[in-house]
């Protein structure tokens, strides 16, 4: 009886310790969020002084309006960039994954890791040729007299289409990986049965694989949306023209400007983070699977 009592105490005090540790960790992860929210609700005069941990004396959305005035057009650029690039790169990944799992050919086992390597490389090692090639695309478009109405579709240097194209190309490894691993779990018998029924390669995809693909599409689309929205290196190198810069680059420049208006910066940071945060809050389940797939764990 006595021993049970002591065990009870140990068990419960260690429980309390676990919750205390978890709460302390929560404080660490929430610290920046608190500061972001509180600072962005303050006017400039308050945001600049030692009172950064205090609540704003009179919360106002003034900083958000100012941040939106500066980041708004870039926010729109990010939408124009991220949504088409996400859709196209998911479709491409799905087709690749289908071929590499259900239509394997000689050498496809060698090809796949060679493809995967592309998602680990430091993109610095391709940037110089990338800029050169995309500039050549513009030269070619000029020479071909592409009409102005279609010019925005040309994936050249300094255009949203060019940046989207780059994200689609360098998204091939991860999207292919997730779809291939997902389709590998679909029994080959299903595919064989459809083939015996006379289905060709497109019909097998359309009627067998594609209807089963929604979870994989969710994972891949959320992954690509988040990565492309948050990406900075390609964006800063390939968008010399300020008008087409996505929101990460605009936020970076806002933070680098001479007069540091912390309240506007924090509001801007919150705005820039909002779309991916909302996706995380509502579709976190799929985000998590994408993360784990990124470590080649399937």
């Amino acid at each position: 009886m006595k021993a049970t009592g002591r065990n009870w105490l140990i068990r419960h005090s260690s429980r309390a310790g676990i919750y205390l540790a978890l709460l302390a960790a929560s404080a660490f992860y929430l610290l920046p969020v608190y500061v972001l929210v509180v600072t962005s609700l303050k006017p400039y005069a308050e945001a600049n002084l030692a009172g950064m941990w205090q609540f704003p004396s009179a919360p106002s959305l003034e900083s958000f309006l100012r941040a939106f005035g500066q980041l708004g057009p870039h926010f729109r650029n990010s939408v124009y960039l991220t949504i088409p690039a996400t859709l196209l790169s998911s479709l491409l990944g799905s087709v690749n994954g289908y071929v590499l799992s259900k239509w394997r050919f000689r050498g496809s086992e060698v090809l796949f890791p060679l493809m995967l390597f592309g998602m680990f490389i430091p993109y610095q090692s391709v940037l110089i040729p990338l800029v050169q090639v995309l500039q050549k695309v513009n030269t070619a478009a000029d020479a071909l007299h592409i009409p102005a109405t279609l010019r925005w579709l040309v994936p050249g240097y300094g255009s949203i289409a060019g940046l989207a194209f780059v994200h689609i190309v360098y998204g091939i490894p991860i999207t292919t990986l997730i779809f291939r691993n997902y389709y590998a779990t679909v029994p080959n018998e299903l595919v064989e049965a459809a083939k015996i029924d006379g289905a060709n390669i497109f019909k097998v995809y359309r009627w067998v694989l594609f209807p089963l693909s929604m979870p994989a599409f969710a994972v891949v689309m959320i992954w690509q949306f988040t990565s492309i929205w948050n990406e900075f290196l390609f964006a800063v190198i390939l968008t010399q023209n300020p008008a087409i810069r996505p929101v990460t680059v605009a936020l970076y420049n806002l933070a680098g400007s001479y007069i540091v208006e912390w309240n506007v910066q924090m509001a801007g940071a919150l705005l820039a983070a909002m779309p991916t945060l909302l996706v995380y809050i509502f579709l976190g389940r799929f985000f998590m699977r994408g993360l784990l797939a990124g470590a080649l764990k399937g």
């Binding site: 071929v99 890791p113 680990f120 040729p129 970076y252 993360l291």
Partner: protein, 330 residues
Amino acid sequence: MSMRRISWDRVISILLILPSILAIAVFVYGFIAWSGWVSLSNWDGLRPDLSWAGFVNYAKLFANPRFQIDLRNTVVFTVLFLGTCIVIGLGLAILLDQGIRGENFFRSLFLFPMAISFIVTGVTWRWLLAPGDPATGRLTGINVLLDAVGIPLSRWYTDPTVVHIQPTSAMGQFLQQIDLGFLTTPNFGLPVAMISIVIAATWQMSGYVMAMYLAGLRGIPEELREAARVDGASEWQVYQNIVFPLLRPVTLSVVIVLGHISLKIFDLVAAMSKKGPGFATDVPAYFMFETTFQGDHYSQGASIAIFLLVTVSLLVIPYLVYSTRREAEL
């Protein structure tokens, strides 16, 4: 008839994947080769000049004091970043694995920074760790909290201090005697400013490590642990002898994923402190960015890029080979 259709499907399957294969061949392997060539050329300035220079750019790079500092910074950052992420990530995963209430809530909370851009993280932590002006007492950020509880103030990422073994200390003199005097130079020290970057990076990535370890812990059958407990093993022994060894593959994945992120870290440094005082927070990727796209020293920039690629490859290629082999065995 049937044979004919199958081989027709075969042709289409190749055609379907061909664009991606060509894209990877050109945009990954072709471009890497092209960068490699640029790194061996005389291209210095806006006008491309691909005449052969040999390994001059690499020799210049390794002789450059800034690059030597970058190497030190990369090693320091990688060790501290991986260390803290693994300790915090594994610790949180073990805590969450104790069947606690609100597990989903805590897990989502620890992981949410992963959904955010490194730029947002950098801008936010730059503000949190802004040192203010201790001389006039105008403090900002974390320093306000530290001041309130009487902890000495830090200059965070604006601190130029490099902690290293002093040549005049007993240890320093001993090292000089055994011809290891170079270990007493700042190039083998710890740049204090780098700790700020480690804090921000850990905030962003430790939840990911937690998620990976948690998935690993969930993969260990409860019967294994129960059997050890029945055999009289203490809870610590269960972890030491059963859980930790079974988590080794997870640790390997964590080291590969975080390691390659750490070697090529750029966004966070650019948004937080750039090269820092006396290059205290400079990293090769940032050096490459400045050299190439702000300084127009293309061949020099390409040599940094190729250096980055080689270090990342040394980490990733064995892992890819290992994963592929293991998958083939399954």
